[in-house]
């Protein structure tokens, strides 16, 4: 079947040619990849950047006097500047390279254990990924600080009245995801930041799910910390960033000790390097950082507004078609959401649906999406989650819907 490709005039067919993986078959069927919220696919341009690095200028950075080391250092620092520009950070040294969002969050949580006292409070949201809950629980265990949770509403949005009630002079840090990974809800982060700042609390936003769809401006948001993973936005796995306002990054103690992060070392005293190196101990993922820069170039070449408009078109189309299936319920129905659909059909187990449609070449995520509190709220073991990217098509959605119907028939 052919479905009119795009209403927004998005040239998806040309874009798809950039992604070699999209032409492969899985279990004898053309791959339909709808697990983009877990990991996005990689365009040839990014693959080329990786190959180029290892083929031409693989070397350790920042210390070598030789030409290769200089080339690698330049490319790595250029990538940092691309990321700075993309998120509109004021200074390039406010961009810290990390192993990804989880690592970035742990860096902040670890640092805050030196800044927070017993009885003081950290607020997180009920929509969080486990990686956003556990580091704060560990911090609270260590310091005696108290964790407070912003409850969620039925439609998967945050209860902002309750948030207001939780804020007090005890609040030191507010932590929410910009976009929920399980439901796709876009949280009202501007309002959260304003309210938190009004009582003097810092705000850390997990941008892992937002960054592939929304170009965040950290200065306009006035956010204190922002985290991103490259693999969610056409880059490689194992690399990401922490954005932090200079004043905050100066306040936080170093996270890990090692090379790169020191200025001078004697057995009596070590002085730490300046930002960003203070937080970048050891040899970093040099190639990963450079490839992350290439991924941002690639996505900016298409344009985030165009990407968001087209993905919204996919979301609307898929939601409408899915809801035609009897007994299907979509979880997370906020007005503001990214191209993520979490659903169940009757009492069918998401694992069963995912297993059957995988046999038909379709990749979705099933389970609790590392957000058990969200699943507990709905009293379900998990959901099937289809998440779209700008290289997906309505034809693929059609194939997916037919596969879901087939699974439903087999399992009922």
């Amino acid at each position: 079947m052919k479905v009119a490709s795009t209403e927004t005039g998005f040239d998806v067919e040309t874009i798809r040619k950039d992604f070699p993986i999209l032409s492969r078959k899985v279990n004898g069927y053309p791959l339909v990849y709808f697990d983009n919220a877990a990991t996005s696919q990689t365009p040839q341009q990014v693959i080329d950047a990786i190959v180029d690095y290892y083929s031409r200028y693989n070397a350790n950075i920042h210390r070598g006097v030789h030409s290769l080391s200089q080339e690698a250092t330049d490319a790595y620092e250029q990538a940092r500047m691309k990321i700075q520009k993309h998120f509109n950070a004021a200074k390039s040294y406010e961009i810290i390279f990390t192993a990804g969002t989880t690592n970035s969050i742990n860096l902040v949580a670890s640092g805050f254990s030196a800044l927070i006292k017993e009885g003081e409070e950290i607020i997180v949201s009920a929509l969080e990924h486990h990686s956003n809950i556990v580091p704060w629980q560990m911090l609270c265990e260590k310091t005696g600080a108290v964790l407070k949770v912003i409850p969620m509403n039925d439609n998967g949005t945050l209860n902002m009245n309750e948030f207001q009630n939780l804020l007090s002079e005890k609040t030191k840090l507010v932590f929410v995801n910009h976009v929920s990974n399980a439901l796709g809800t876009v949280n009202p982060v501007k309002e959260i930041i304003e309210k938190a700042h009004a009582i003097g609390a810092a705000v850390l936003l997990d941008g892992a799910q937002a960054a592939p769809h929304i170009k965040a401006d950290v200065q306009e948001l006035d956010v204190d910390f922002y985290t991103v993973s490259a693999h969610k936005m056409c880059g490689p796995t194992g690399v990401g960033i922490l954005y932090g306002k200079e004043e905050w990054l100066k306040k936080l103690p170093p996270y890990q000790g090692g090379g790169e992060m020191i200025a001078t070392v004697t057995f009596e005293k070590t002085t730490y390097a300046d930002l960003p190196h203070k937080f970048e101990a050891g040899t970093p993922n040099i190639c990963g950082g450079i490839a992350f820069g290439a991924a941002l170039d690639y996505m900016n070449g298409i344009g985030f507004e165009k990407i968001a408009a087209y993905e919204h078109e996919l979301l609307e189309y898929a939601s409408e078609k899915l809801l035609e299936i009897e007994g299907l319920r979509i979880y997370g129905t906020s007005e503001e959401k990214t191209a993520v659909i979490s659903f169940n059909i009757g009492d069918l187990h998401p694992y069963d649906i995912g297993t059957i449609i995988d046999k038909l070449g379709i990749a979705v995520r099933t389970g609790h999406h590392c957000a058990q509190p969200v699943m507990d709220y709905y009293k379900i073991p998990g959901t099937v989650r289809a998440s779209f990217a700008f290289y997906n098509t309505k034809e693929e959605i059609h194939t997916f819907i037919e596969a879901v119907k087939r699974a439903k028939n087999m399992l009922s």
Binding site: N27, H349, D352, I356, M410, L411
Partner: protein
């Protein structure tokens, strides 16, 4: 009473009748639906084998010198494979259960479900069956 190997061969023969994965899965789903369920009182935390996604409960008890398993899962495909495993391993002597292999799962085209990285609890379930067998074997000696 057939031994484990005979039952495994029987299951392999049965699955050979099917031409494609769809039919195999449909058969497995049917088997899952017909699984003699574990008694509600045994569906407790202690008997729960935690896979990442589907829950699996197993209960074992001795009948004479044979070990009898009952089990359940909240996912029907997982339940189907449990039904197959139970058919092969239940009502057998503990020593035979300890010695038995799971190669027949591969032969019936369900190998992917027993991959240690698959998040369905089945690998842990087999380990659990064997651990019960080891425990009861000691009791019998």
């Amino acid at each position: 009473m057939s031994n484990i190997k005979e039952i495994q061969n029987e299951i392999v023969d049965e699955f050979e009748m099917f031409d494609d994965w769809m039919q195999r899965y449909e058969h497995m789903i049917e088997l899952g639906k017909s699984l003699p369920l574990i008694e509600e009182k045994y569906k407790v935390e202690d008997n729960l084998i935690k896979g990442c996604q589907s829950k699996v409960w197993v209960h074992a008890e001795l009948a004479g010198d044979k070990l009898v398993f009952t089990a359940d899962s909240d996912a029907i495909i997982t339940k189907g494979i449990i039904a197959i495993l139970i058919r092969a391993y239940s009502n057998q002597h503990p020593k035979d259960i300890i010695d038995a292999d799971t190669a027949f799962i591969d032969e019936i085209g369900l190998k992917e479900h027993l991959s240690p990285t698959r998040a369905n609890g089945l690998v842990s379930m087999i380990k659990q069956l064997k651990m019960y067998a080891v425990a009861y074997q000691t009791q019998l000696n």
